[in-house]
């Protein structure tokens, strides 16, 4: 019984954690370049809506997934322009992007509410624990999640591009003096971040929910932002964080289904309590790890 529960929770945490990981990896890149984007949730929603629209119209979930990625980049473009070229306040611009995303996704998704959405093809891997029917459903985005985390880690820490990107996030003036093209690097980071947030939304729509509904991402974009801080701007830690949060959410639903005698309201708070409980402990070390120029508009000369 217990092992069955553990197996089912682990399986469910993969499904819930995948979209979190994509969004968190994108946000990690952006923040490493010195830009905090509070609009992740809005970009995810636009990605989800476009993925549904294209998947439903063409019948191809993979085209839908691509559409989600492209939509994420397009939706992030005005934000990128505002904060990179116009030195606009990042928090205000991010919140504007968030609400823009709410509205735009509702508009795009409206004709596809209730439409049949072809899900991403998946294979079920039965959990080796317990007797239940718990299985991890591995679709393309789930399978690509770990390699992607590795790729982001390598890009950030193992390439010259990553070094420059981090330099821009730490001290853009010095980076500029050293010959880095801040503007270009930040645009590149935000484009990849937009793409990953769009894919995160696409996974919610095509890999988990199989439908479009307004606000269907349910605040996961914000959890992804918290995850980035919890993971100290490190791609591998983001994997652990995404699984942990996914597990917290899955566990409370599994426990309810298993008939544990705890108030459902209390259990619904659990994942957020966990987030709140963990953040203070990343605080001190987190402040050291944070890109020094995070959130500050660039005022230097170019």
């Amino acid at each position: 019984m217990t092992w069955t529960l553990v197996a089912a929770t682990l399986a469910a945490s993969v499904a819930a954690g995948t979209s979190l990981l994509y969004a968190a990896l994108g946000e990690t890149l952006g923040e490493r370049a010195g830009i905090i984007n509070l609009g992740v949730e809005g970009v995810m929603l636009v990605g989800a809506a476009c993925a549904c629209a294209v998947a439903s119209s063409t019948g191809s979930p993979y085209l839908g997934m691509l559409a989600g990625a492209v939509a994420g980049v397009v939706a992030s473009a005005p934000f990128a322009y505002a904060v990179v070229d116009r030195a606009a306040n990042q928090l205000a611009s991010g919140l504007s992007l968030l609400f823009l995303g709410f509205g735009a996704s509702a508009l795009i998704g409206n004709p596809f509410v209730g439409a049949l959405i072809p899900p991403l093809p998946s294979v079920s891997l039965r959990m080796p624990l317990g007797e239940g029917a718990a299985a991890v459903r591995v679709d393309f985005l789930v399978a690509a999640a770990l390699p992607l985390a590795g790729l982001v880690a390598w890009l950030l820490m193992g390439t010259r591009w990553g070094l420059r990107l981090r330099a821009v996030g730490e001290n853009p003036v010095a980076a500029f003096a050293a010959g880095c093209n801040r503007r270009r690097l930040q645009y590149e980071a935000l484009a990849i971040a937009g793409m990953l947030s769009g894919l995160a939304g696409a996974h919610v729509a095509l890999g988990v929910a199989y439908t479009w509904a307004e606000f269907m991402t349910g605040g996961r974009g914000f959890i992804a932002i918290a995850l980035v801080m919890f993971a100290r701007w490190n791609a591998w830690w983001a994997v652990a964080g995404a699984l942990l949060f996914g597990a917290a959410e899955a566990a409370q639903l599994q426990l309810q289904a298993g008939g544990v005698d705890v108030s459902p309201f209390l259990m619904n708070m659990a994942p957020y309590l966990l987030t709140l409980a963990l953040l203070p402990f990343t605080g001190k070390a987190g402040r050291l790890a944070a890109p020094a120029a995070l959130g500050r508009p660039y005022r230097g000369v170019e």
Binding site: T4, A8, A11, A12, A15, A16, S19, A106, N110, P111, V113, G114, L116, P119, G132, A133, A134, V204, V208, A209, Y210, T211, A213, E214, F215, M216, T217, G218, R220, E249, A250, L253, Q254, Q256, A257, G258, G259, D261, V262, S263, P264, F265, N268
Partner: protein, 352 residues
């Protein structure tokens, strides 16, 4: 003499035309009207009313929030000539009511509330007793004797639906178990998916739900090869060609048509309307291909029994802690359906 005749003719003609005097109806929805759920059912009712009454024209607004914004949208409809307003979500109530006070010439009807005035009526389906028939269907179809119920927020009405479902299932299979998972919202799709999977992992072979749109839960049940039972709109059957059993849907057309006719005839009087299977405000969805004839007959017979006034909420009923929720001779009426704070025996879950 000739003049008098003309006047009489004109009066006659006037009264004939008065019969067909056009009526503009304004309808506001909380969400999008094609969600296979609550709003879709409302929209279907409006369309049927339009078809039945050619003199009716309709103004519609979707995604109307339960805020003062709804009051502005309804006002705009009134200034465009709407004489009947249908406010279809619970939270539109007070805004519609305040407009009804300042616009005595306009009639309002609201779904699911309690406020009543001369020009303000309330309507809703008596879903709780009807859920008993869905429980009977689940009791017959489930091989494991286990169902999973994904609930948005466990308010009294939802708990009543779950209880009736379980009581119906137990009337067929005395060992039937219904596991409940609460997601905490009416439209958090990732949690609905995880909840549906969790219930299947726990051995449920029938899933049902009370959330805004049944699409996610039904599709997960279908993908994992188990049965599903829908709620809100009867059209959700399209999502589960293999595993669909049946469902309970709202059929607002007769009430909406009747109300529009009353407004045109000037006989409308605000009152509380709560109707069920009998008046066809609720209808059972068509059965899925997997449901054998004897089960269909049993479910239809149960529905007919409910239409004749049968209620499952008659003591003795034990709750899931073993205590008596209703003693011998006690019963709950239509007015009590929001008051459930206990789960019936055999339900795994907690209300609070």
């Amino acid at each position: 003499m000739k003049k008098l005749l003309l006047v009489i003719l004109a009066l006659l003609a006037g009264s004939v035309f008065a019969q067909d005097k056009p009526l503009t109806v304004g309808v506001i929805y909380i969400g999008t009207a094609n969600d296979y759920g609550y709003n879709r059912a409302m929209k279907d009712g409006v369309e049927a009313m339009k078809k039945a009454l050619p003199a009716v024209s309709v103004l519609e607004a979707e995604n109307v929030p339960e805020t003062a914004e709804s009051e502005r949208i309804m006002s705009a409809m009134i200034s465009k000539g709407a004489k009947l307003i249908m406010a279809t979500s619970f939270g539109h109530q007070e805004f519609a009511n305040s407009l009804a006070r300042s616009n005595p010439g306009v009639t309002f009807v609201h779904a699911g509330g309690w406020m009543i005035r001369d020009n303000f009526g309330t309507f809703f389906g008596a879903t709780q007793t009807a859920w008993y028939a869905l429980g009977v269907a689940a009791g017959h179809m489930s091989k494991a004797g286990k169902a999973g119920f994904v609930a948005g927020v466990p308010i009294g009405y939802v708990v009543g639906n779950i209880n009736a479902f379980q009581l119906g299932a137990r009337s067929v299979n005395p060992k039937f178990v219904t596991r409940v998972v609460v997601t905490g919202g009416w439209s958090d799709k990732v949690k609905e998916a995880a909840a549906a999977n969790a219930l299947i992992d726990q051995g449920a072979d029938v899933l049902t739900m009370h959330v805004d749109s049944p699409a996610t839960v039904i599709q997960i049940a279908e993908n994992r090869g188990i049965y599903s039972i829908g709620f809100q709109s009867v059209e959700a059957r399209a999502l589960a060609p293999k595993g669909w059993i049946t469902g309970l849907g709202f059929n607002w057309a007769p009430y909406m048509t009747r109300t529009a006719q009353e407004v045109m005839a000037g006989t409308f009087k605000g009152k509380m309307v709560r109707e069920g299977l009998k008046e066809q405000m609720l209808v059972l969805a068509p059965f899925g291909d997997a449901v054998p004839q004897p089960v269909r007959d049993a479910v239809n017979a149960t529905a007919a029994k409910i239409a004749d006034g049968f209620t499952p909420f008659k003591g003795p009923i034990k709750d899931n802690t073993g205590a008596y929720a209703l003693r011998e001779g006690e019963a709950m009426t239509n007015a009590d359906m929001g008051k459930f704070d206990w789960y019936a025996e055999g339900i795994v879950g907690r209300v609070r």
